[in-house]
Assembly symmetry: C2
Homo-oligomer: 344 residues x 2
DNA sequence: CAACATCATGGAAACGTTTCCAGAAAAGGG
DNA sequence: CCCTTTTCTGGAAACGTTTCCATGATGTTG
């Protein structure tokens, strides 16, 4: 159907090698011939086939990108960053969603391998490790947003992450600075194999500030609306003495807002809320939500640079850590005194 | 580097044709040989190369998907739907962002063509028409969310759309039913070449209900936060007699909420707000926003089915129209009487 | 047991490129 | 004007598959 290099060569009365040189830019072609070839190509609506080229050059110009859910604002931003960078690098992007499911991760990784992508960018589930197989085959692999906890895989694979620990720390310091002593934490999966960086940071920050940390203060949820809601409701009901809640993502953040509304807790008068991920609605909520912003787009961009450049080993300084930023809005206030709470 | 079919054949002591048969499933292979081949493949960590296969079979198994912005919740949902369907169909997805820019659309289309995707799904900007070139080359093309207005391209290309006109109509009927007579409309680009379906529907719905429609009631904005905000601010200030606003997207919807807050308008007491696109924060806002939901995910799914199946011509019933749904929440109330407004 | 259908297999020719190589033509130097 | 570079060009061999075809080995049927 589509014209091939042979058709163009025949039509222009030259050899296929010459046509190839015209289009690939390599080698010298006289201006006259070039023009003739170009004209023939235009006539035939010829477009070099990437698959022919890929076969010969052994580069497809494609990057594999796997995220749990493109619908998640953080993931979407990462994708946007990757797309942005890939475009400037002349690469294209194969996107797939893993839903955080190891089985689907494996499928996706398989497909990327079969497609012979030039590099892979993955936001790993952390359970199992289908991705590390790429390092064996010499395909650049870069983790984003998270590194798998498994010792074998995550070791020296390049990664681009937000400095979550620092972000959590700044949020905790902010809350404690406002006088809060009983701060709840809405965190990641319950018996999650990977120890949660953020939960650890939360505990560390509190103890560093001399605030005793009670195991009862943290509730964990899977990354779904329902699970987050259940966790938030559970936490807020069992610990009605909480004066602040820190949500480790926008899902638990949303849940906290909803549950607070349900329980008729005024924000921030009765309960201060802060969350990780400064997504669009944080500003729209009433009151606007204080949030720790992760530079998702930059993360994607940097990761894509690494993957395309063929970075195959983590730098000496470890994974690339991008700074977070605490965006203070109206959802956190001074801790209510005991009297205030009693009155309410 | 990676093992090829030849390596496997040699290692298993068979011909490459046999190896091919084992992996492609076509043709008969004795159980014994199959086992031997599989074992050899496992040993060598062999994975058939999609590029070799594509060259021969002339199918890449890839679908091109172009949306203006993956970060936009509607687009993200469309992408999720496409991904979902593609997976069940065993296709992969090349994603790119166009930013609604015709020049970038052309680049993306070019790349898809070069990559020899099996089908293309595009959410077109409507200006220019880089996509229709695919119908000439026989590559299935499906529009989503919108069809380009240009007569030449959009004619018979399959499309999957939300029934926007109906959605707008139901929202307008709802507002007018609440007693609103002066309803503002926040619509699409100003002198947009494509006549805006939604704006037309808005005018039609009002006149059908016997409510006079004033050109002054509609404000238009480009799809950016700033532009939407400016339009909303302009509209609400110049027409302080408005009792309701209908936003034709989540961006103008967001702007309306913000501007109302800025102007100290109580929602819905002073101003009712409704918008198109029922995105996550609509429920989080205070009051929760009434919205017209477009089944974005389904749109993506259906479009992918069509593209993969190779639908190359629009059905006799025109584009696939998926129903919208009016989600009533708390942001719309009865139109304030003149007295109420005066008092405020 | 002959004749024949079926099955399992390997060789070889595509598919559309790039690139090495060698030859021809043009350009430059004496 | 001849010899040496340089520039331009085409043939042919990859790249990793699938698939057509021919061949030999099994079964099957009368």
């Amino acid at each position: 159907m589509a014209a091939t290099i042979k058709d163009v060569a025949a039509s222009a009365g030259v050899g296929i090698a010459t046509v190839s040189r015209v289009f690939s830019g390599a080698g010298a072609v006289s201006p006259a011939t070039r023009e003739r070839v170009l004209a023939a190509a235009r006539d035939l609506d010829y477009r070099p086939s990437a698959v022919g080229r890929s076969l010969k050059t052994r580069r497809t110009g494609g990057l594999g990108l796997a995220v749990p859910d493109v619908t998640d604002p953080f993931c979407a931003d990462v994708v946007a960053g990757v797309l942005d960078c890939a475009r400037t690098l002349g690469q294209h992007v194969l996107l797939d969603a893993t839903l955080g499911d190891p089985a689907r991760e494996a499928e996706v990784a398989d497909r990327f391998a079969e497609q012979r992508v030039d590099g892979v960018i993955a936001l790993p589930s952390g359970i199992g490790d289908p991705w590390s197989s790429f390092v064996r085959t010499g395909v650049p692999l870069v983790y984003v947003g998270r590194v798998p906890s498994c010792r074998d895989g995550g070791g020296t694979v390049p990664a681009v992450l937000a400095d979550d620990a620092d972000g959590i720390r700044s949020a905790v310091e902010y809350l404690v600075g406002l006088g809060h002593r009983r701060v709840g934490f809405l965190g990641a999966p319950a018996p999650g194999t990977p120890p949660d960086v953020r939960e650890d940071a939360f505990r560390a920050a509190l103890t560093a500030l001399g605030v005793p940390v009670d195991d009862d203060l943290v509730a964990r949820a899977r990354p779904t609306r329902d699970s987050a809601y259940a966790a938030a409701a559970g936490l807020l009901q069992r610990r009605s003495d909480l004066t602040a809640v820190l949500a480790s993502g926008h899902l638990p953040g949303e849940a906290a807002v909803l549950v607070a509304r349900e329980l008729d807790l005024r924000v921030p008068a009765d309960l201060s809320i802060a969350m990780v991920d400064d997504i669009a609605w944080a500003e729209l909520a009433d009151p606007p939500l204080t949030a720790v912003n992760r530079p998702a787009r930059d993360i994607g961009y940097r990761a894509c640079e690494l993957a395309a450049r063929g970075a195959t080993r983590r730098g000496p300084s470890g994974p690339v850590l991008l700074p977070t930023e605490l965006i203070v809005r109206g959802s956190c206030g001074p801790a209510p005194s005991r009297r205030d709470r009693a009155r309410h």
